[in-house]
């Protein structure tokens, strides 16, 4: 029991220190510190019957969480999973049954907390409680346990009771002993507070566990309050009280975690300058926390709280802009629903993700005005969209009389509440990002903005290309949109599908080669336009074949100086830019082999065969002699076979009626050019025969794109040879599909007779679609762990879309040094209060109040580096060091040795180790958050989870992975180019190790990443043997140094 109580001692110590809020200044911190002893919540514990491990299994809580997180997560799971339509779910029923079973076993275990069975004859009660029986009686040979009561047996198994050990003991006649202690876990406030709150309910209980199990409202309130920092929690209880807070549990849950009370006042976004405005808006002063919070939660059915939450999450620079003058009030007036038809807490996910993205990404002019791509006049038109939404109609009317950007901001704030994937807000976010990186002379013209906005609903997903390559000018953008639109006019469905597929595949290849720097920036526009031009007039398959060939030739000419390259050479170009080191050449070869492996497994015809066949048919004279060479080439097309059928055609029709994806592949099987080659074909027949090659050409070009973005651990790409061929570009496999240029969606999942999953849509955002496809093949390492669909694809994309061919050793070193420097700062801050204030102040811009509070407490308590540092995310230590060096350039000594080395590197190689370069090379793509696939470190507080489209925001805000892998590479002496292999492999392993309880479980990701790193350090990653070229040049991480 002593060891079980240890966490509570630690917690007690923790809670004696003051917590911090964001945003706030250092003076407030110091003030708060002085009040620490009066602001901590009282310590309470709750008894969990039976081993904690078993309880957590039944409660769907990760085995890796600490005891203090058990009750919050339990409360969360109960309200999230425990009821459907007010009726308890199977989850809750089982959990409730388990608690009863565990209490029975607890009684059996007695005061020694140990279940003992001396012999088989003694096992009856235990076996009965467990829901089993002896198949043969005691004393018989092969005594076996079998299910007697399936309900109980299920609990026994699901909770991990050692049934086999019991069985073996019974068989061998040896005693069975199993420790069965009850577990004390910390609780928020006193247990009696919750018992009182539950008094008057239909079912009353004397302990918190039963209350949480029976009362989802209280469970939700409990979960919500545990997301606040300690001082705020106490203040809320004292100033408002649990009973008054209970009706606001949903609002508090969704939008309450940023509420921060310090020294008797609420810290408002933009404080203290904005206190009066907030008082006006909320109807209560921030100096009266109870009133303020109650009013905030109650006002406008939660929408003001949602607004407050978003403003509290953005960084201080944005807060200053957004709360300036009357803007705070005006924007809220725009944001709130005048009719209040919909509460801000309806549904499972929090609302208005677009408001958070908008406020995070807004760009301001030097004069403080909003930046408006293309000028305000265009936006007045853009707001005149057709819509069924009354809000959109209202703002369309208002827009007509706009004369300043502020009104546009208000309009977008209003529409951010309306879910519309092609509405003005999404258009603004995209075009703003697209315009942002452009040089002043290359800004988007009003006409281009108008065109882009008009075409957004159709082609918006392709705008990621324009934001990734800001050098693409208006003419290039316009040409793309014109051509893409013209393809929509191709009436022949098959031809249109092939035209879309080949065009997009070539654009995809261009993108890869431009991203890898193989297309010189001076040729960006020319190569782009030349690549597209052949597609201007498509009326037949033969014409399309020639257009694709010519287009590919332009890409190759721009990237390699020659228009004709063999497929092997093209694969080499895609694999990497030319490498001049042995390591670089080795990794290049590996990448090329990977690409070829996908092409082979998809059984795709080679470009060499297709172009040779086309050339041969072109050169053939009508009625001329048969060419053996052409016959051999034609025979190669026949090598593709459909998989051996398991279902008959009629079975397929009746068992998978809505999925028919293999039409394209079946046509290929039927293609036979030998008759044309052998016979006396006319010129037009020979030309038509060339047109038959276009489906093959499409698949190979599409296959090259698929292969390039292959996620680590991919299986479908290697085992379903129809996967590439089944890509449905024109939406022909689903009736009613009408958005062929949008990002692809995964179809055909779970339809065994349908021929397997496939992608429908365009090749935009292909890397994400492939990651979405392949993530189901990752096998979680922990029992009960899940591969989170909302998270894993974003992680995989961060590891597959970026490549690291141009990273220099100095860059790699700098990335590691910044992380170590950040750690040194934290260590130094333990004994240096002024430094601590600076550190906390910097971190406050990217940490939620509760987390910042915990870090602050660690520093004040002087926690050992080995305990404190593993809780820091690499992106945080990296950001801390970068910001500190920038804000306090004369205090670099605080960064210790890493700081000194960084100084030297910065002086000698300023371009290599500067922020921009590191952000570009070690950042991650943010296609949802920043509307670009360009890599960047955004350095923002983790984005909360939103449902639907916005679920990707959460994964994209995880920026620690690549930074950490780079640090490991530096530590273990890998050359930078090795990142191309390390990052995908380590990310895959990390994903398999994630053992999370909920969607926003950042600590679980951090844990999984560190475990993966540890395996690599120990040489346990077979695919990644430790480098034999260099010995570690650095000291072990501070977290792993022996304690002094």
């Amino acid at each position: 029991m002593k060891c079980l109580l240890r966490p509570f001692a630690v917690l007690l110590e923790v809670l004696l220190f003051l917590c911090l809020c964001v945003p706030f200044d250092a003076a407030q911190t110091a003030q708060s510190t002085a009040r620490a002893d009066t602001s901590s919540p009282p310590i309470a514990t709750v008894t969990i019957p039976g081993p904690l491990r078993s309880f957590m299994r039944l409660a769907s809580i990760s085995q890796k969480v600490s005891p203090e997180d058990v009750l919050p997560l339990l409360a969360r799971n109960i309200y999230m999973q425990g009821y459907r339509g007010g009726v308890p779910t199977e989850y809750l029923i089982l959990l409730d049954r388990y608690v009863h079973q565990a209490r029975e076993l607890q009684i059996l275990a007695g005061s020694n907390n140990t279940i003992r069975v001396a012999s088989c004859d003694d096992a009856g009660t235990l076996v009965q409680i467990l829901g089993y029986r002896l198949r043969q009686g005691c004393g018989q040979k092969n005594v076996l346990l079998e299910t007697a009561n399936p309900e109980r047996a299920f609990l026994t198994i699901d909770s991990g009771f050692p049934l086999t050990e019991l069985e073996e003991a019974l068989q061998s006649g040896t005693p069975f002993t199993y420790p069965y202690p009850a577990t004390q876990v910390p609780a928020l406030y006193r247990e009696s507070d919750w018992v009182s709150l539950n008094a008057g309910e239909r079912r009353t209980f004397g302990n918190l566990l039963d209350i949480l199990l029976s009362n989802p409202s209280i469970a939700r309130l409990y979960w919500a309050l545990t997301k606040n920092d300690a001082e705020t929690s106490v203040a809320l209880q004292r100033s408002v009280g649990l009973r008054k807070l209970l009706p606001f549990a949903p609002t508090l849950d969704f939008y309450g975690s940023q509420i921060c009370i310090r020294s008797g006042r609420v810290i408002t976004p933009g404080a203290p300058a904005t206190d009066a405005a907030w008082k006006d808006l909320v109807g209560a002063s921030p100096d009266a926390p109870g009133d303020f919070v109650t009013h905030l939660l109650a006002k406008d059915v939660g929408w003001l709280a949602a607004y407050f939450d978003v403003l509290a999450r953005v960084n201080r620079k944005q807060q200053v802009h957004l709360t300036e003058g009357p803007r705070l009030k005006h924007l809220y007036e725009a944001f709130r629903d005048p009719d209040l038809d919909l509460t801000a807490t309806r549904g499972v996910f929090r609302k208005a993700p677009d408001l958070l993205v908008l406020f995070t990404r807004l760009e301001w002019q030097p004069d403080g005005e909003l930046r408006v791509p293309g000028g305000l006049e265009v936006w007045k038109d853009i707001f005149q969209q057709k819509s069924n939404s009354k809000t959109v109609h209202d703002w369309a009317k208002r827009a007509r009389s706009w004369n300043q950007p502020e009104q546009l901001l208000e309009g977008m704030t209003a529409l951010s509440r309306v879910e519309n994937e092609s509405g003005p807000v999404r258009i603004y976010l995209t075009l703003s990002e697209l315009d942002k990186e452009r040089s002043p002379e290359n800004r988007l013209s009003a006409e281009t903005v108008r065109l882009l906005a008009n075409k957004f609903s159709e082609f918006g997903d392709w705008y990621l290309v324009f934001s990734e390559f800001p050098d693409l000018n208006d003419a290039s953008i316009s040409r793309f949109l014109t051509l893409a639109s013209s393809m929509e006019g191709i009436s022949n469905l098959a031809l249109r599908g092939n035209a879309l597929g080949t065009f997009q595949a070539n654009v995809g290849l261009w993108q890869i080669l431009a991203r890898q720097g193989e297309i010189p920036s001076a040729q960006i526009n020319a190569s782009w336009q030349k690549m597209m031009e052949p597609f201007a007039r498509i009326s037949s398959p033969t014409q399309l074949f020639d257009a694709v060939h010519a287009s590919l030739g332009e890409i190759l000419l721009a990237s390699s100086g020659k228009p004709n390259r063999s497929q092997d050479e093209i694969v080499d170009l895609l694999a990497s830019p030319p490498q001049d080191t042995p390591d670089g050449q080795r990794i290049h070869q590996e990448m090329a082999v990977k690409i070829r492996s996908v092409l082979n497994d998809q059984r795709l015809a080679t470009l060499d065969t297709l172009f040779a066949l086309s050339d041969g048919l072109k050169e053939m004279k009508p009625g001329g002699a048969t060419s053996e060479r052409l016959l051999a080439l034609a025979a190669e097309l026949h090598e593709f076979e459909m998989p051996r059928p398991i279902f008959t055609k009629s079975e397929k029709i009746s068992w998978a009626p809505k999925v028919y994806s293999s039409h394209h592949a079946e046509l290929q099987v039927k293609t036979d050019l030998t008759k044309v080659i052998k016979g006396s074909a006319s010129r037009s027949q020979l030309d038509s025969a060339r047109g038959l090659l276009i489906p093959f050409l499409r698949d190979t070009l599409v296959g090259l794109n698929y292969a390039y973005y292959e996620p680590p651990g991919a299986q479908v790409l290697h085992n379903n040879p129809l996967f590439v061929r089944s890509h449905d570009f024109s939406g022909m496999s689903i009736i009613g599909a009408d958005r062929p240029w949008r990002a692809p969606v995964l179809m055909g999942v779970g339809t065994p007779a349908g021929g397997g999953a496939y992608l429908m849509g365009s090749l935009a955002d292909l890397s994400y679609a492939l990651a979405m496809t392949e993530q189901d093949f990752i096998a979680p390492e922990n029992v009960q762990a899940l591969i989170w669909k909302e998270l894993a694809p974003a992680l995989l994309v961060s590891a597959t879309l970026p490549r690291w061919w141009t990273v220099s050793p100095n860059e790699l070193r700098a990335v590691a040094l910044y992380q170590k420097g950040g750690e040194e700062l934290l260590i130094a801050a333990v004994k240096d209060p002024p430094l601590r204030e600076k550190v906390i102040d910097i971190l406050s811009d990217r940490m939620a109040p509760q987390r910042l509070d915990r870090i602050s407490q660690s520093l004040q308590r002087g926690e050992a580096p080995a305990v404190m540092l593993p809780r820091m995310m690499p992106a945080e230590t990296f950001y801390l060091a970068v910001e500190f060096r920038q804000r306090f350039p004369t205090e670099n000594a605080s960064l210790g040795k890493p700081g000194l080395e960084l100084d030297t590197l910065s002086q000698r190689y300023p371009a290599e180790v500067g922020w921009n370069r590191l952000s570009r090379d070690f950042g991650v793509p943010h296609p949802t958050l920043a509307r670009t696939n360009a890599r960047e470190l955004l350095n923002m507080e983790p984005v909360p989870f939103f449902g639907g489209y916005s679920s990707r925001l959460f994964g994209e805000s995880w920026e620690s992975g690549n930074l950490y892998w780079a640090r490991l590479a530096d530590e273990l002496g890998y050359p930078p180019v090795m990142l191309n292999r390390l990052v995908p492999e380590l990310t895959l392993r990390m994903t398999a190790k994630i053992f999370a309880t909920e969607l926003e479980d950042w600590p679980a990701m951090l844990r999984a990443m560190q475990e993966t790193g540890q395996e690599l350090r120990q040489g346990k990653v077979a695919a990644l043997p430790l480098s034999n070229t260099t010995i570690s040049r650095t000291e072990p991480p501070a977290a792993e140094r022996p304690e002094k």
Binding site: L599, E639, R644, N720, G750
Partner: protein, 340 residues
């Protein structure tokens, strides 16, 4: 397209023995074709009309053809008997012939006994469906699997995997049955069912093994989350020489897709599907699988030159009139797997 299979073979090359049809390559030049193929292994169950296993057959009782080309049996064994090496593949100027790396001095064409370690006993992967569909019967299915594990005799090693939407490698191959039994009892109920995804991963794990290998799936279906179709899994299992047995209940037969797939995939790989009344009534299935693994004839051959780079049909027959009354169950072919 042919290029992917080309390997420049300027001299005779020996390749490791494999149980499937992997690593085939061909080189066409002006004068000849060099073919380089690994050993193809075929497991054959021979039964009489009552379903009883027929034992004691000799190598010469079997006739094997691949794409109608007669093949010479290279190794032969029955059940857990030691494997007999019958021939070394012929070496001709047109045929680069692999030798058994384990028997470099074996030039005789006489049948010889080779050590049992390579083939004796089977490796069995148990794949347990823990999806929602199994929820009500979960504990009974666990009991059944535990019984099955206890019943396995003459089996080298057993692995236990479970799956719902994702695969969980609960226990990798081990000869420690107690470990497997503990693993059975440590499985937890899951959510969606991605049988074919997870079966594919299991086949791939088994593919690396030499000798007899089988996957025994305990599932009621239906699959609602897989991305790969059963056709691909069946082909891979056939190409890697992995036998798939499906153990299910009559509940599964209410769903025609699952029952059709279970029957056909297992049949195509030389296995069988069993649908008993419930999970408590699987004794017959267990006995059948156990007997199957104990009585299979395992033949292997080095394929004769064959230009077919796609699906190759295997046909196994019994020679002689007296033997025509018996039934044979084996895989029906394989596809050459690409080597990058």
């Amino acid at each position: 397209m042919a290029k992917q299979y080309h390997l420049l073979l300027l001299c005779l090359i020996s390749l490791p023995i494999s149980s499937g049809g992997t690593a085939a390559s061909a080189q066409e030049d002006a004068s000849r074709i060099h073919v380089n193929v690994v050993l193809v292994q075929v497991n054959v169950a021979v039964t009489d009309r009552n379903g009883n296993y027929v034992s004691g057959l000799r190598p010469e009782d079997f006739v094997v053809t691949e794409d109608n080309i007669s093949e010479k049996i290279s190794t032969f064994d029955e059940g857990s008997e030691p494997t007999r090496r019958l021939i070394m593949s012929e070496s001709t100027s047109d045929n680069s012939v692999p030798a058994d790396p384990g028997k470099p001095d074996s030039a005789s064409s006489d049948p010889v006994r080779i050590p049992t370690s390579q083939y004796a006993g089977a490796n069995v992967f148990i794949l347990f469906d823990t999806s929602n569909y199994m929820y009500k019967e979960f504990v009974f299915a666990q009991d059944a699997i535990a019984d099955f594990v206890r019943s396995l005799e003459g089996v080298n090693q057993v692995a236990l995997y479970s799956y719902s939407r994702n695969l969980s490698r609960v226990a990798t191959l081990t000869s420690d049955r107690s470990k497997i039994l503990r693993s059975v009892r440590s499985t937890v109920a899951g959510d969606d069912e991605a049988l074919y995804n997870c079966l594919l991963l299991t086949v791939k794990d088994a593919a690396h093994l030499t000798g007899r290998k089988a996957i025994v799936v305990f599932s009621n279906g239906p699959d609602n989350a897989s991305l790969v179709p059963p056709e691909d899994v069946a082909e891979l299992a056939q190409s890697t020489g992995t036998i798939i047995y499906m153990i299910s209940t009559q509940e599964a037969q209410k769903e025609p897709i699952s029952s059709a797939v279970f029957e056909r995939v297992s049949k195509a790989t030389g296995g069988k599907a069993y649908f008993s009344r419930n999970w408590r009534d699987q004794k017959q299935a267990f006995a059948s699988i156990r007997d199957d693994l104990a009585h299979l004839y395992t033949l292997s051959y080095y394929p004769q030159p064959n230009p077919n780079r796609g699906w190759r049909a295997i046909n196994v027959k019994l020679a002689g009139k007296n033997l025509q009354k018996y039934h044979l169950r084996t895989r029906v072919g394989y596809r050459l797997l690409n080597q990058p």
